[in-house]
Point group: C2
Chain length 453, copies 2
């Protein structure tokens, strides 16, 4: 089955391609489409039956929707975009050039255009931007049977209906009732006895990631979105929450490698696009790495008289970088899921310092005998002590820098392994040469003031 569609397009008659598209389920077709480039996507897409094409289009991620649209005629684009729910459409528009959006908007029906415009009126990244605006509500006085009778014949997208908001006469939110609770209630039950008053809601201006995480943590199927007067504006559904958290995780994954996130599928980005997303960080990091050249220049005399010290530079700075990355990645994740906060900084520093000492002591215990055998006990001692102090130092800064970033409202994920490595390297080299100078100096007392400085 794998790569089947690509093969069909390249080697088989169109009739076979059409049959494959008709026979396979929507998600399978969407999945296969997403592996094609824009041109092939459009080719295959044109052979789908109209209703299935709509379903496949809806099943694609926002990023893949955008790639596909690039290969289609404007008329077709308008049709597909019109059929999308308003929240998905707003998200798609966010990803497209403003000019294209304006042209598509003009082609939409007045009602759909207004619905999208309302969503786009909220700031990017806000809860209002991703809510489903028109929502069926029920009132607290209705009985199970009255509510069910009123719902019959209403055709709305299923997702948000898994939870019904209960409102008063002026659309103020009183609570929510799940369809499941409504349906399984005893005959004649009144909604005021069924609905949950202690319900969650967010303001339209709240961060959409916070809303998505609330949906996840409270196991909600939909979350009401309110205006400043507690009036219901819409609902964020659980499938939107999953997509928000997913793209957040993708962002973090890119950052963890020291690159800017790309908001498109890997295969859909040009080579130039990929290079651009990495160039800035790579340049910044190399500028920071010039510090290591300066440190080594400062110790060039020591290095010249003991070239053997140069042999261990990569090993020692790698180890420091690794210990720092381990601490930073644990901390970035703990911050992302809300397990730690800035106020925990002292406890985290103390924890990571101890972890660093444990790890450093372990490495020193292995490194001392091995290095002593091959290079003598002086070198063995230098390596062992450096490993100990580098692990301590790197774990501590790896644990703390993401916390500091979060306090400064910078994404903690920018303190990725590459960034931590580069930061730890220059300082690690200083540690190394200070220890080397101290150990190699016959008169230890002479070296001590240097360490203190």
């Amino acid at each position: 089955m794998n790569a089947a569609l690509k093969n069909l397009i390249q080697n088989e008659p169109a009739s076979k391609l059409r049959d494959w598209l008709a026979l396979n389920p929507t998600v399978e077709v969407a999945e296969e489409l997403s592996h094609l480039d824009s041109g092939d996507q459009a080719l295959a897409f044109r052979l789908l039956r109209k209703d299935k094409a709509m379903a496949v289009f809806e099943a694609l991620d926002t990023e893949h929707q955008r790639t596909l649209l690039e290969g289609l005629r404007e008329e077709r684009v308008r049709e597909l975009v019109e059929a999308l729910p308003a929240d998905d459409r707003a998200r798609l528009f966010d990803e497209m050039p403003a000019k294209v959006v304006a042209r598509i908007q003009q082609g939409l029906s007045r009602e759909e255009r207004d619905a999208t415009a309302r969503l786009l009126g909220y700031p990017a990244g806000s809860a209002g931007r991703v809510m489903l605006p028109v929502v069926t509500t029920v009132s607290a006085e209705q009985t199970r049977e009255e509510a069910l009778a009123r719902l019959s014949g209403q055709s709305e997208r299923g997702g948000e209906l898994a939870v019904l908001p209960v409102t008063d006469g002026s659309r103020r939110l009183l609570g929510t009732v799940s369809l499941a609770d409504l349906v399984t209630a005893e005959r004649g039950a009144v909604l005021s006895d069924l609905f949950t008053e202690d319900t969650y809601s967010v303001s339209a201006y709240e961060d959409q990631e916070a809303a998505a995480r609330l949906i996840q943590e409270a196991d909600l199927l939909a979350l009401p979105v309110l205006d400043n007067e507690n009036r219901l504006l819409g609902m964020i559904t659980v499938d939107d929450a999953m997509e928000i958290l997913e793209s957040e995780a993708t962002e973090d994954a890119y950052r963890s490698g020291g690159a800017e996130p790309i908001r498109r599928p890997y295969m859909a980005v040009t080579v130039f696009g990929l290079a651009r997303s990495r160039a800035v960080w790579l340049l910044l990091l190399i500028v920071a790495a010039v510090l290591t050249v300066n440190v080594l220049e400062f110790f060039e005399d020591t290095l010249e008289s003991m070239v053997v010290l140069a042999l261990f530079i990569p090993l020692l700075i790698d180890t420091g970088g690794n210990a720092g990355s381990q601490a930073a990645s644990a901390m970035i994740r703990a911050l992302a899921v809300g397990e730690v906060r800035f106020a925990d900084l002292p406890r985290i520093l103390w924890r990571e310092a101890r972890v660093g000492v444990l790890l450093g002591a372990m490495l020193a215990a292995v490194g001392f005998p091995v290095a002593s055998i091959f290079y003598g006990t002086d070198i063995g001692l230098i390596i062992a002590l450096t490993l100990l102090f580098i692990c301590l130092w790197a774990s501590a800064i790896g644990g703390i820098l993401p916390l500091v970033a979060s306090k400064l409202r910078i994404d903690p994920a920018v303190f990725s392994a590459p960034v931590i490595t580069t930061v730890a390297d220059a300082t690690g080299l200083i540690i190394y040469f200070l220890i080397a100078t101290a150990v190699l100096s016959d008169d230890l007392a002479m070296a001590l003031p240097m360490i203190g400085g």
Copy 2:
């Protein structure tokens, strides 16, 4: 509000603590509890009203549930565990020592014990392990009104009821109908006209991550789980899917820093536990880094006659490691969300090689003049060429190694930034010294056979 609970516990009378716990919503309480250590958690938990305590317990992650239980009396533990849905209970048991599980199991009612035992009969990580076993079904001949009448008075957990499985007389799955579609259908509509036949389902033995991703991609509220004869065993709900994907993302985050994932909240792990999760990788990486010592030893004569070459070692290997990490993190993420496959390897190699050349050329263009001014054009040329080839090489292996891992059924995330860095370092040094030897040799022709070898 932040850190409010910790402060209350330490500084305020118990009555204030009790009021805070009663007034704040369930998720808020659960959130605050998860920042406390096991002892304080138990203290606060005991002051919750019984029904709220149950709700808070359910709202906690599996990891936090486990931490909390460690501080409670056995009688209380049994009560809380009994009230959990069977799927959540099975997941909790997965995380607890077998002895404790056996003791708790004995205290459960026969029915609950059987339900859990059935789930635990499926392999760890399988879909069967996380499904909700008992599910209300409807049959295709029923009308909207008949189905609604039958559902009235049935009390089951709400989540799975958002979607009803349609089965035949022998529990074979015919399709599914969402409660929303059922409720909004016209009066008298027959289910056979309402339900979707082209429905998704998984086998109980399928990987639970694949099931969760299907739920996400197809925007499902629940996914039927079947036995080998297509009979319905249970449903996986969207909230379970979110938790599965979340813990998968956490695993990847730890791996990305070069550590083994810890299955507990950061603050709940002991310092020894943290050190253990990092020690193996740190040791493996330092053993691999010994290669860099060997490479440098091989070139020790060159290094001795030109100590200035040592100054650039950290900068050059950092850059290689960074370029490799950037490529690897993009690839690990693309694999995780199913955007690329092993069959794409040649295309990815070609893409990453070009990205590497672009990035390397950019860095060389900056590096050549700067290094030439301070250290002469020979060094400038060496640095520039090394940057170019190191970026090419590191991007290529960073892009490919995760793909190879996935082919070998190893988690691609093990090719984290630290691992890529270490792999790229030894090879990067070889590139550096070969280029240095070639450039510094008066007779370029003499050096060429060395590069070839």
